[in-house]
C-alpha cells in the first residue's frame, strides 16, 4: 500500500478527486439548466457523469496496475534456470524494456542442445555415413558394421 502514497501518486489521487467532483458538478449544473427549460442540456447532463466515471475507471486501472506490477518486476529480471540458451538470450534482451501486461505467445524455434549423451542410433548412422564417404563407389550392402 505504501507505493500508492508517493508524491506522484498523491498528485494522481488529488487529480482524480478534483476531476470527478468538477465533472459531477458540471453535470449537476446541466441538470439544473435542463430543469429550467433548456432541453439540450439533458444530453450534457448525461455526458458529464460518463466522463467522471471514465476518470475513476482510468484511476482504478492505474492503481491495480501499480499494485500488481511492482512485485513482479524483480522476478522478471532473472530468467528461470534451464530454459535453454535461446530463451535465456532473449530474456536478457527483453529485460530492459517495459513488459506489457498481456503478452502474445511467441513461437521460439528450438535448437537441439548437445548435452553430451550420444544417441546410439544416430551414432551408428553417422558411422555408416562416414564409412560411405571414406569408400566412394561402395554399395550399401558392403557396409561391414
Amino acid at each position: 500500500m505504501k507505493r500508492l502514497w508517493t508524491p506522484s501518486w498523491i498528485a494522481r489521487h488529488v487529480a482524480m478527486v478534483v476531476l470527478v467532483t468538477s465533472f459531477l458538478g458540471l453535470g449537476w449544473w446541466q441538470v439544473s439548466r435542463a430543469a429550467a427549460g433548456n432541453a439540450i442540456s439533458w444530453g450534457y447532463a448525461v455526458e458529464w457523469p460518463v466522463f467522471a466515471g471514465f476518470v475513476v475507471f482510468v484511476w482504478w486501472r492505474e492503481v491495480k496496475h501499480a499494485l500488481r506490477g511492482a512485485p513482479t518486476t524483480g522476478e522478471s529480471q532473472a530468467p528461470a534456470p534451464g530454459t535453454g540458451p535461446v530463451a535465456t538470450e532473449q530474456a536478457t534482451a527483453g529485460a530492459d524494456r517495459p513488459r506489457p501486461a498481456v503478452r502474445r505467445p511467441v513461437r521460439v524455434t528450438r535448437v537441439a542442445v548437445d548435452d553430451g549423451g550420444e544417441d546410439a542410433d544416430l551414432a551408428a548412422y553417422n558411422r555408416y555415413l562416414s564409412w560411405l564417404n571414406a569408400n566412394p563407389g561402395a554399395k550399401p550392402e558392403d557396409y561391414p558394421g
Binding site: 494522481r12 439540450i40 444530453g43 450534457y44 455526458e47 460518463v50 466522463f51 471514465f54 482510468v58 492505474e62 522478471s76 530468467p79 528461470a80 530454459t83 530463451a87 532473449q90 530474456a91 534482451a93 527483453g94 524494456r97 517495459p98 513488459r99 506489457p100 501486461a101 503478452r103 505467445p105 511467441v106 521460439v108
Partner: protein, 111 residues
Amino acid sequence: MRAALTRYRVIAWIVGVVLILLVVIGMPLKYGFGNPVVVETVGQAHGFLYMVYLVAAFDLSRRANWPLKRMVLVMLAGTVPFLSFWAERRVSSLVVAEQREREQAPEPVAG
C-alpha cells in the same frame, strides 16, 4: 495493435473534424448571428464522439503499454481544435516506430 491504431486514427479524425465544425462554423453562428442550431446538434454529437475517442485512446495506450502521462496527453489533445490532427499523426508514427522496434527483438513467452 494495428487494428487499435486504425480505430484510434479514424475516431481522432472524426472528432477533429467535428470539433473544427463546432469552433469555425457553430460558434460564430451562435454568438455572432444568434443561430444556435449548429452548436446544439454538433455540440451534442461531439460529446458522445469524444467518449468513443477516449475509449479508443485508452485501448491503444493499453496495448502499446504507454505511461499514464502520454495517455492523458493524447486524450487531452483530442479536445484542442487543429492540434488534434497533429497529435494523431504524432501518435501514429510513434506507435509504428515502437512496434517495428519490438518486432526486431521478439519477447520470450517463458520467464
